[in-house]
């Protein structure tokens, strides 16, 4: 009994690590992408959010939470404490929104609505953290463009999720 539980938890840890690596790789990939797509600097698609959504919807909250933590930890080691704080604020806020949608509005909101809300809240969380770090109110200057870019980015990640989810469900189904 106990041994089986250890096995399950080992599997979980390994799978979370794999997904976190996938999220990080996607973040890197899209940083190569943004100059090509003529996006303003700093605007990213947030493809890693696809991985977080897959983890939450197909595997459960702990996996998604683990990925968010891993991403922030990675930001800490590569770009320092303020990057960690900003990444964590964005990640946790967008994950909270995803979780609330899953919990209370399942079936009433489509994939696009969920991913757009989550992308927008990711930006809001990051902006709030940036405001606290710079101790300035940046909401009026940066808020509107971030919200609008969030809608666009959320729509793209939603489409990617929609396309990938059936395959991921099969893969995860075999794993668990």
């Amino acid at each position: 009994m106990g041994g089986e539980r250890v096995l399950v938890s080992t599997k979980r840890t390994a799978l979370t690590g794999l997904l976190a690596a996938l999220a990080l790789a996607l973040s890197f990939f899209e940083s190569l992408l943004s100059p090509v797509a003529f996006l303003p600097p700093g605007v990213k698609l947030g493809l890693a959010n696809v991985v977080v959504m897959l983890a939450l919807y197909l595997l459960g909250l702990p996996y998604a939470f683990g990925i968010v933590l891993a991403r922030s930890g990675f930001a800490f080691f590569l770009r320092g404490a303020s990057a960690f704080f900003i990444s964590l604020a964005g990640g946790l806020l967008s994950l909270s929104v995803l979780f609330l949608f899953k919990r209370f509005l399942a079936g009433r909101v489509g994939v696009l609505g969920v991913s757009v809300s989550s992308a927008v809240m990711h930006n809001v969380g990051q902006l709030a953290a940036a405001c606290i770090i710079a101790s300035t109110n940046l909401f009026f200057g940066y808020g509107p463009p971030l919200l609008l870019f969030g809608i666009g980015a959320g729509a793209v990640t939603g489409l990617v999720y929609w396309a990938v989810a059936p395959f991921a469900a099969r893969v995860f189904g075999r794993t668990e």
């Binding site: 489509g110 994939v111 696009l112 609505g113 009026f140 509107p144 919200l147 969030g150 809608i151 929609w162």
Partner: protein, 128 residues
Amino acid sequence: MNGKRLIQKTDFLLILGIILIAFFLYFPKLLDKGGISAHIYIENMEYQVIDLSRLTEEQFIDLPTDPFLVLRAGPGYIRVHSAGCPDRLCAAAGTLTKNGDMAVCVPARVVVKVVSAGHEDTFDAIAY
């Protein structure tokens, strides 16, 4: 989401709501565009704020400091008109017209700062 539908009615409402919020955040900026004001500080305390964009004619402001300091403000600008201090560095700062322009008189402990609406704090760049 469990229904695996890409988009539903609620989604449009959500996106519309976000666009509305973005618009309301942007709205104050539209109203105050181009307005600049001069903030006058004496001994680090705000003494007077003059809305420079609403001025129609030149006016002189006598500051109750020792050495004396007279400012001259007009539509879109403010400058130190005359000063009782020996070096007159504040007058050398010239005419202040842009956000962030500043004239400082150390002997009178006066700071005059031009601020444009919606830019109360400006950063050249913030990088993370």
